[in-house]
């Protein structure tokens, strides 16, 4: 199994390590619910070093990145970040990622751990006449996320750089954190305010310890993948492999906001624009269980007569809302709020109703 630079520290901290797509990472340290609540109320610290980083540099970097993605980087400023899907010609999703703009000829892409090699190959195969250099620099970085209402206050204790200057979805690549040089962005995957910190792999463990120590009196907890999933789920942030796959388009996943059809050209444009115009046959909806039980990923969704109308993409008990909730890809006519749907839970049919997403109102500091 692959290990992040913080692996040994996770063991010392009592993390329960699991195999996550080939990476040995903590699913929890003490309790998913406690860690989840720490992020909502105080702060949580995550090792997300398994995430991939790919750089695209060169004369045509801007045009090339814009050709790869559905969102538009044309008007992006330096030190700005955007979220975007990246699609195949048929509109299916290769991955969803963050694009960091360093300058017109230098972009830093942060991609999902399980997709790094696939993405790198896909991106490399699209180069053709573009004058760009592409590098997979994933192993160079330790990535740590500090998330929660107290994240800024805790991180600020360790740096003289004013974090207020790093506004939502921007970054500073020369932050000195108690002697460790890092790129810091105001981004995250929890629905709370917070930062993601990219440092040299060798500094990962020390940085994680420093942050834990700085947050000790402020309720910070180290958090595992379990809480990362419940937090992103409540905020209805998509997870590749669940809400997005090669067979699910960003239009179906409700991410049309991150698609710019007016853009001159991008991979998958024809299919995606057509789907927006004609409206997709399937839509991602949020639902709440009415009957007791928890819907899990891949469970079948039925109509009142028992016909299959879709499937669950993610489902969980929601620690913040104390309800059993889910996301499902269903036929479009079932997308309206309060529509009754039925989930097949271990051969039993359980009633649920469509509700608004996100379930948890995001608390970004914009």
């Amino acid at each position: 199994m692959k290990k992040t630079p913080i692996n040994e520290l996770h063991k010392e901290l009592g993390g329960k390590l699991i195999d996550f797509g080939g990476w040995e990472l903590p699913v929890l340290y003490t309790s998913i619910i406690e860690e989840h609540n720490a992020v909502r109320e105080n702060a949580g610290l995550f090792d997300v070093s398994h995430m991939g980083e790919i750089t695209i540099k060169g004369r045509d970097a801007k045009d090339f990145v814009n050709y790869l993605i559905t969102n538009d980087i044309k008007n992006m400023k330096e030190q700005q970040i955007i979220y975007t899907p990246m699609c195949y010609q048929d509109g299916g999703t290769v991955d969803d990622l963050l694009v960091y703009k360093k300058n017109e000829q230098d972009y830093f892409l942060v991609v999902n751990a399980s997709n790094v090699l696939k993405d790198f190959k896909w991106i490399s195969d699209q180069v053709k006449d573009f004058k760009v250099t592409i590098n997979n620099v994933s192993n160079d970085y330790a990535q740590i996320a500090i998330q929660g209402p107290k994240a800024e206050m805790i991180l600020q204790k360790l740096t003289s750089t004013s974090l207020q200057q790093i506004t939502f979805f921007t970054f500073n690549e020369a932050v000195d954190i108690n002697g460790i040089k890092a790129l810091v962005s105001r981004t995250g995957y929890t629905g709370e305010d917070g930062f993601e910190i990219y440092a040299d792999a060798k500094d990962g463990s020390e940085l994680f310890s420093l942050l834990l120590h700085a947050g000790k009196d402020h309720g910070i907890l180290p958090c595992g993948l379990g809480a990362r999933d419940t937090l992103r789920f409540e905020s209805a942030l998509p997870l590749y492999g669940h809400e997005l796959t090669k067979d699910i388009t960003p239009v179906e996943a409700g991410l049309t906001y991150f698609i710019k059809p007016e853009k001159d050209k991008f991979i998958g444009k024809d299919k995606i624009v057509k789907q927006i115009e004609e409206k997709p046959k399937r839509r991602l909806v949020g639902f709440e269980m009415i009957d007791k039980g928890i819907a899990r990923s891949e469970y079948t969704v039925l109509d009142e007569e028992g016909n299959k109308i879709g499937f669950v993409t993610s489902g969980s008990f929601s620690p913040s809302l104390q309800k059993n909730l889910g996301l499902a890809l269903v036929e479009r006519s079932y997308r309206k709020r309060d529509t009754l749907i039925y989930i097949e839970v271990r051969n039993k049919i359980k009633q649920a109703k469509v509700v608004k997403k996100p379930f948890y109102k995001k608390k970004y500091k914009k």
Binding site: I32, I33, G293, I294, P319, R346
Partner: protein, 127 residues
């Protein structure tokens, strides 16, 4: 290890407390620690016939749903409805939070269960 003397244990990490022909069944401390925060217990149906090895009920943690396999055959004569509102009791007091009472149809099946010493050894080997 946190075990209760006098109880019997299965290799699937259930405990059994025998009272005459009745057996209270729950999951062990080891099992609840493996599962983590329990958020839902799908309580079995009273009067159901159950065979040893069949799914007695399902216990769900935040992360997963885990089937509890019946350590004994018989009829389910009582279920712990308190767990409906307080599934976390299984984490807090695993040896109090029984799931069901099975009126046993084959008492010889008790011989196949482990006493606390044998179960403790079994858990150590599992680690």
């Amino acid at each position: 290890m946190n075990l209760v003397p006098g109880l019997l244990y299965s290799k699937e990490h259930e405990w059994v407390k025998v009272e005459g022909n009745d057996a209270y069944v729950g999951i062990t401390n080891y099992a609840q620690l493996q599962l983590g925060d329990i958020v839902y217990v799908e309580i079995p149906e009273v009067d159901d016939n159950i065979k040893k090895g069949e799914v007695l009920c399902t216990v769900e943690s935040v992360k997963t749903a885990a089937d509890v396999f019946s350590p004994l055959s018989g009829i389910i004569t009582k279920v712990n409805e308190e767990l409906d509102d307080e599934p976390e009791k299984v984490n807090e007091q695993p040896y109090e939070a029984w799931l069901a009472v099975i009126t046993m149809s084959d008492l010889t099946q008790l011989d196949e269960l482990l006493d606390e010493k044998a179960y403790a050894k079994y858990c150590e080997e599992e680690e």
